[in-house]
Amino acid sequence: MNPGFLLAYLIDGLLIGFVYGIAAMGLTLIWGVMNVINLAHGPIIALGMFGVYLLYTGAHINPYLALLIVAAVGLGGGFMIYWIAIHRVINAPHLSTLLATFAVNMIIIGLGTAAFSTSPYTMDFSLGSLTLGVVTIQGTRIVAALAAILVTGGLYLFLYRTATGKYVRAVANNRAAAELMGIPSARILALSFGLGTLLAMVSGGLIATFFPFTILSGGAYELKSFVIGVLGGLGNPLGALAGGLILGLFEGIIPAFVPNTWVPVFEFLLFVLILLVRPTGLFGAKR
């Protein structure tokens, strides 16, 4: 194969990989810290998309500035969801939190459909593009990749270099022990859910700058986020980013050799296989 084409496949894979990574980060954080699989993750991503879209088209705020507003709303919204829907069942069997977050999923999709219908929205926003040989890259995609790195770094610093971050990791490790040490575990859990929601909304906002979207668009990213959680391990932002990049490269390069429709088949088989071999993720610690 012409190396130029291979490069094109690689670059496309990496670019989507950054997007997947940041989209999964919120899910794996909540999963890792709270042991809750957030089935409302997809609709929350979609809310981020609409948030940035509305601020940009309605109030003409720069999308990247709008991301900050969306992030704040996400944090607050996350707290709210936690206290209303999750706090009461946080110690109940898995099924309860799965269904509680699924109920939130239904509520968001229902309200979203009533407000926006299910028709696609496109943001008319561009930062130009960069052409190298056969490869053309959109400016917005490059910014999204940089933002993914920035967010990963920020979250990493927060978790490993601040006192609150340490609390979060302590609660993730052993909730009961953390509580005995005087850590207010309920508030830490609420914070974690808020952060997870914030990350999901921000990733949605970034995606909205280059892909058309509907209120149902988050679902695909939610499914990929499960795969990434298993690939990269839970609760660790670096793992999520690495998992996203692996998945992106996989999706970018496999179609060069087999029909494109086989990609998801391999992807999900790989997912099940990794679950069986190493359920805590390729980079996850042994449990």
Partner: protein, 342 residues
């Protein structure tokens, strides 16, 4: 809340043991459930009302599937998010056979067998995973199957399989074929309820419930957990496989997205949860109640734009405040009812 759930499932119960000693067929609870479902199921047959039949068909399908899922979810404590994979795969094989000239009974059996076989093969692998990891693996398998079938030529790939109208001829035309499908589904539903009851009140079921309470302890107590879990998985897969054939035979066509709809799996979980996991009556009541509610919200002009929001809010309230489900709550509240509310 936790206590409620545990007390409702504590075992062995004195009353439960009595029923066990008498033989399950002497249990009045089982007969009453069968009689009620049977009578309601017979209503459209007696009155010859096709519209009622269609509505009850949807409900019976849900009862059969929810009762089957309950064997894995309620008795064994494994949350399957991808149970629809058995429904879809059974449906696909059945449709393929029907179009090749095989009769409906054989197609239905084949659908059940392939679903059971898949569960058997998968069971030994993925049932090692616990909790959420098992749930995720079932999602992965459902998606892998859906995308694989989309690429699988003999099953029509993305186009799926359409039944020729002539397939209905040997059954006396389409209208008769629909009635036949209905009778079959009604019988299948009754079988599903009996199976659910039998499993619960057998030694095998006791082993499953021991696994649910504490898998490691069950192992120590002599339950061969991998084997027990695999058989529970197989038993919970067969009826969805058969029901899939009946559903798509009635529908006339099958496509990957309809056959392996993840959302349907989750709805089944909701039904089991509403009625009460781990009880025989729970999934029956949950499925009927859920379908009834959805039907009402969908067709009610005031609610139709917000039906999803309302259904979500209701689900949340139940998960938060009555996690044991309707039957679980009753059993916990009125312990003596356990004898008659299986």
């Amino acid at each position: 809340m936790k206590d409620q759930q545990q007390s409702s499932v504590a075992l062995p119960l004195p009353a439960g043991r009595a029923a066990y000693a008498l033989g399950v067929w002497r249990n009045p609870g089982l007969w009453l459930v069968l009689a009620v479902v049977g009578l309601v199921g017979a209503y459209p047959i007696i009155t010859n009302q096709a519209a009622t039949r269609e509505a009850i068909f949807t409900t019976l399908l849900s009862i059969a599937l929810a009762s089957s899922l309950n064997i894995l979810l309620g008795y064994t404590g494994y949350v399957s998010f991808g149970h629809v994979v058995f429904f879809g795969l059974g449906g696909y094989l059945g449709m393929y056979l029907l179009n090749s000239g095989v009769g409906l009974p054989v197609a239905v059996l084949a659908g059940g067998m392939i679903a059971g076989l898949l569960a058997f093969l998968l069971g030994s692998a993925i049932l090692r995973l616990r909790g959420a990891y098992f749930a995720l693996a079932t999602i992965g398998i459902n998606e892998a199957m859906r995308t694989f079938i989309s690429n699988f030529g003999p099953f029509g790939g993305p186009t799926g399989i359409s039944l020729n109208f002539a397939v209905y001829k040997p059954y006396g035309g389409a209208a008769q074929a629909l009635w036949l499908t209905y009778y079959s589904l009604l019988s299948l539903t009754l079988v599903a309820i009996v199976l659910s009851f039998q499993v619960k009140h057998s030694k095998f079921g006791l082993g499953l419930r021991a696994i649910r309470e504490d898998e490691d302890a069950a192992e120590v107590m002599g339950v061969i957990t991998p084997r027990a879990k695999t058989w529970a998985y197989v038993l919970s897969a067969i009826i969805p496989g058969m029901a899939g054939v009946l559903f798509f035979f009635k529908n006339g066509n099958i496509e990957p997205l309809d056959a392996f709809r993840l959302h349907f799996s989750i709805e089944l979980l909701v039904m089991v949860m509403l009625g009460g996991q781990g009880t025989v009556l729970g999934p029956v009541l949950g499925a009927a109640g859920y379908q009834q509610l959805r039907g009402f919200l969908l067709t009610n002009p005031t609610f139709k734009d917000y039906q999803l929001v309302l259904a979500g809010a209701l689900l949340l309230l139940i998960v938060l405040f009555i996690p044991a489900g309707a039957i679980g709550w009753l059993r916990a509240r009125f312990p003596r009812l356990r004898r008659v509310l299986p």
